[in-house]
Symmetry: C2
Subunit: 422 residues, 2 copies
């Protein structure tokens, strides 16, 4: 049911997944990285903790770049800048700071985001318009620009094309993430092999004032700007747009795809293969976000089947995933079909109650609108021991199907988010 159930041959070399240890040298081959990018991650002093907080990705040549951004009407300054610059075929760098979202910061915020791009452009040797910028962290405070200036200088001095550099870059975009989040993959299209390396941070707006999901995906598959934009939209639709922790859309969400690929662009059928594999990478990354959702004990892997169409299925999945009663049932390993079925019933999409059936962890417990006897303690035990709890809800006989991932809701989430933080 989930992407990990059907790992294609080409992804067997995935090995750059994040871990909690922060050894400077990861024992990983350099091979998974697409050619043409260099990376840095440094501490510039935004975070009081002294953890890395400035990331720089530079391409050797102008590259194709696409972006997908938050739908919130309140958008941070860096989102406004980057959104205006994608899609593009002339991007040279992405600079990201963590620890400060540069959101709700007015004209000064726009000036600061603009200066970040200008500083990077000067060191890289390009125009400010060729630089993308992302920020994540506390809302409503101005960026400490002295730190940023020093950080960009330091980052440029340390920039390096190795996996270690990539991982340092991924490290520097974390805020309250427990782990660094990366995925790499190889994609075989006909006789050609391409690489994808992707990093992300956060899950929804999970932390006190710490807004944002950020992700940057890199590839060496040759794409036009339009092809990159289309591929990224497709990947986002089935991954980052189908996960939730607390349903709170941040002011800074940004997902970028950059391609350094040279030579003939992919043809239509090759592009289709590329998109499918890019989507799988995005799903893996999105699931890492959910698994790291604040206080999460389980990932709920929700599959809706039989809805009127895909949009209806997504509406139902989103509603089930957001219900605190469904979330807390999973927290408590309680196969509580009443909560799941009734959540589907109030979603803003048609269901057929008499054709509604439910499986949890592969066990059918509700069929065609009626409860099915099952071994409750055994199923509860199974839920308890499953980091990912599969929930399959059939709501009728339509063709609409989606997969959606959400975290459960624990007392840790409430404790963390109700601490006094202003």
């Amino acid at each position: 049911m989930t992407g990990s159930e059907n790992v294609p041959q080409s992804e067997k070399s995935d090995n750059a997944n994040s871990s909690q240890d922060d050894r400077p040298q990861d024992p990983l081959p350099q091979d998974p990285l697409p050619r043409g990018f260099r990376f840095a991650g440094v501490t510039c002093g935004i975070k009081p903790s002294g953890n890395p907080d400035l990331s720089l990705i530079v391409s050797d040549q102008p590259v194709v770049a696409a972006g997908v951004y938050t739908q919130n009407q309140v958008v941070a300054a860096p989102v406004i800048l980057s959104r205006n610059r994608t899609p593009s075929e002339t991007i040279r760098a992405v600079v990201t700071n963590s620890g400060n979202a540069n959101a709700c910061t007015g004209d000064q915020g726009m000036q600061d985001a603009t200066e970040m791009c200008k500083l990077v452009a000067e060191t890289v040797g390009c125009q400010p318009e060729n630089v993308l910028v992302m920020s994540t962290g506390i809302i409503g405070q101005h960026l400490p620009m002295d730190c940023i200036r020093n950080g960009i200088r330091d980052a440029h001095q340390q920039i390096d094309p190795t996996l270690a550099g990539f991982l340092r870059s991924a490290e520097a975009i974390r805020t309250t993430d427990k782990t660094r989040k990366t995925v790499t993959a190889q994609i075989d299209v006909g006789q050609r092999r391409f690489r994808v390396a992707a990093m992300a941070k956060g899950a929804g707006m999970i932390a006190p004032n710490m807004a944002t999901m950020l992700s940057c995906m890199l590839t060496d598959a040759p794409l036009t700007a339009d092809m990159a934009q289309q591929s990224l939209r497709q990947a986002a639709k089935n991954s980052f747009n189908r996960v939730s922790v607390d349903g709170h859309t941040s002011t800074n969400d940004t997902l970028l795809l950059m391609s350094s690929g040279q030579g003939t662009s992919l043809n239509a059928s090759e592009l289709q293969i590329f998109q499918q594999e890019l989507t799988k990478v995005a799903i893996k990354l999105a699931k890492q976000l959910v698994a790291d959702g604040e206080g999460a004990l389980h990932v709920m892997a929700i599959r809706i089947e039989g809805a009127e169409d895909e949009a209806a299925a997504e509406t139902i999945a989103r509603t089930v995933a957001a219900s605190p009663l469904v979330k807390t049932a999973v927290t408590g390993s309680d196969p509580n079909w009443g909560r799941i079925v009734s959540a589907a019933g109030y979603a803003n999409a048609q269901i057929s109650p008499e054709k509604t059936s439910l499986q949890i962890c592969g066990i059918t417990i509700y069929r065609d609108g009626a409860p099915v006897p099952f071994d409750e303690p055994a199923l509860s035990e199974k839920m308890k021991s499953s980091p990912e709890v599969p929930i399959v809800l059939r709501v009728g006989q339509g063709s609409g199907t989606v997969e959606y991932w959400s975290s459960d809701l624990t007392t840790s989430y409430v404790e963390f988010n109700s601490e006094y933080t202003t």
Copy 2:
């Protein structure tokens, strides 16, 4: 900002509000009850606790009745029956059981709900079609009809027109409610004085498998069925439809209005006065539900101003009220404007970020899109000591305004709902 800020003269005698003590004789005058109704609340054995679980309200004559019901597509058997019977001018009784929702119970559930009405009709001396039925409690289990049969017989024997009877009836519809919920009021329309007495239980679908908000409002104002239906819709729109605990719409929600009034029906302007006062009663009752939301420490009284229209204001209020980050900020007495403003920004209604301003407990902390310096510890202390925390969010310059009430989110909610219950 809330209904209680402006209590009209006619409501000064409100005095039947619930309390946690269960003395058999409430020291209250009999005066607040509308004439023509008799009440009973008995223990019939549905609840393992032995608490009262069957309520009966009987009118001496056929009365006008209106109903508003759950919008969930999965509806309980009693909802289907009652919904088909309102509005009406020939209702004689309402029977309610607690401890079992008779939801997701198929044909047997319909037979059981039908039999409940038939049994009441036989004792009262009317047709089954003149009886309304409500159920609340666990989903997916068949009603213990032997208990119900005995309960209806006992209730009819004990039925009485006093306030004590009314309170026993309100007592018997509780499930996990910490308190019995009642409101009474007198409404002066011209030279005539009418009475309203109302009871309710539950708040959203707050408890494990314990679905349902139920409420029954009684009056002796002379109304036609259409007038009653219109008044009830209006009252519900501004009260029960503007509260949330966990946003989970139950399968059983039912709100009834019954009028025993004799003589000339209210004219148009009198009806308007009646509706306004009925709405105030409904708001008081709805706020009792929120205050009793599971684990709730505070009621968030959210007022949205300046939205494009009332529907837009309601969408924004609902989104802010549902955000776990906003709820936990209130739990922690944290005047965290970033969470509130960003929640409004992702609501599915237009806002003007540069015209957005926010007050908490009367203190402006965000004005026209920018933070305003304020004494944070003082405001936090004020939030902490306020059972009801007023949040006023202006999102533009439109005419759309609503008031909305929600509970905060505490670890107690999560603990209660993640206990194993199936």
